[in-house]
Symmetry: C2
Subunit: 211 residues, 2 copies
């Protein structure tokens, strides 16, 4: 039963070629060569180039957010907010700046015009889910008087983009060879948390859970 293994080899090779050349620029012959497979086999498994592309991108989407779910559960239950939030932020920035993630992000953006449903699916499974989970955590924290949050989803957006925008946008334009040192990423995370808490944290003198 080597079927699954061949299929995986094809998908891995195809992902690499699609990431490098884009959907139109990728050649099925090259994918076959890179996979060490026959073009015939590819078409047996996936039917059309489009289907292969969609399968691959969708495949990369499953479980994007699971990495954060436990961190966010911990966050919602945290008593010591600032260090926990800082940990979440560092978590975020490290995970989201991994080349494996950013290259897919670039590819999806690039092909969002040709595959609108893929763009939507990516946004839904990625930022959408993360924002929702983060907003839920913020609401719990607000309920416990540890955060002053009026619009939790907005706050989740602010947090996420504060943490990740600088490195992510740089890579979007300047390619994958841009890398960041850990200290740099953590500086982004920490300063984002500082800004976030200045706006949404409770300060001495505030009423416990007021808006």
């Amino acid at each position: 039963m080597a079927q699954a293994e061949v299929r995986r080899r094809i998908m891995d090779a195809a992902l690499e070629v699609f990431l490098r050349d884009g959907y139109v620029g990728a050649k099925t012959d090259e994918i076959a060569a890179a996979a060490g497979a026959s073009k015939q086999t590819i078409y047996k498994h996936f039917g059309r180039k489009e289907a292969l592309f969609e399968q691959i991108v969708l495949d990369r989407l499953t479980g994007i957010d699971e990495i954060f779910q436990d961190a966010l559960r911990k966050l919602a239950a945290a008593d010591d907010l600032e260090p926990t939030l800082r940990e979440v932020a560092r978590n975020f920035v490290h995970a989201l700046t991994r080349p494996a993630h950013l290259r897919v992000r670039r590819l999806v953006i690039a092909e969002a015009g040709r595959f609108p449903n893929l763009g939507n699916a990516y946004f839904e499974a990625g930022p959408g889910r993360v924002h929702a989970a983060l907003a839920a955590a913020f609401e719990q924290l607000a309920g416990r008087g540890l955060l002053r949050v009026e619009d939790a989803v907005l706050a989740a957006n602010h947090f996420t983009w504060l943490v990740t925008s600088i490195p992510v946008n740089k890579v979007m334009f300047c390619g994958d060879e841009v890398t960041f040192r850990d200290a740099e990423l953590e500086h982004y995370a920490d300063s984002a948390v500082r800004v976030f808490l200045a706006a949404y944290g409770v300060r001495v003198g505030d009423q416990p859970a007021g808006q």
Copy 2:
């Protein structure tokens, strides 16, 4: 002397086709048809498809930041910080969410792998320049005791991404048919300013220009 006019017609048509189909997907025949020009003329003017593409993108870069320069000069000299900052933010978010800008942004990101110099040039001429100008304004404001800013470039990044990230990222993934109502955009701008000032504004009881 219709030379310049034909050239412009070609560039306009080519931009449209490139934006719709990407670099590889765009067909020179189609560009010629859309421009009402002959393919021969295109190749007389630009030589190769790559050169045409680069010219067009570079052409869209000139003067990106000029829109903001006067607003930022006004900001640096402002006495009443919050409303001025809010005006700048609304300015930003309206300008950057114009389809004409976002589609080019998507295109550049999409082709950053194939044209690395274009990605760099875009980042330099766009976000780079804006961040630099904004940072200069923040430093002046900090010098006048109206802002508490340690790292002005970081603060400029925070401001910019706080203001624009939500709509910009949505469009990146979900295509150009996503539009925003003015009220929505201004809500993003205002809430971004609120967060920014909570972190970087001076509060009663702060020493005049302290860190």
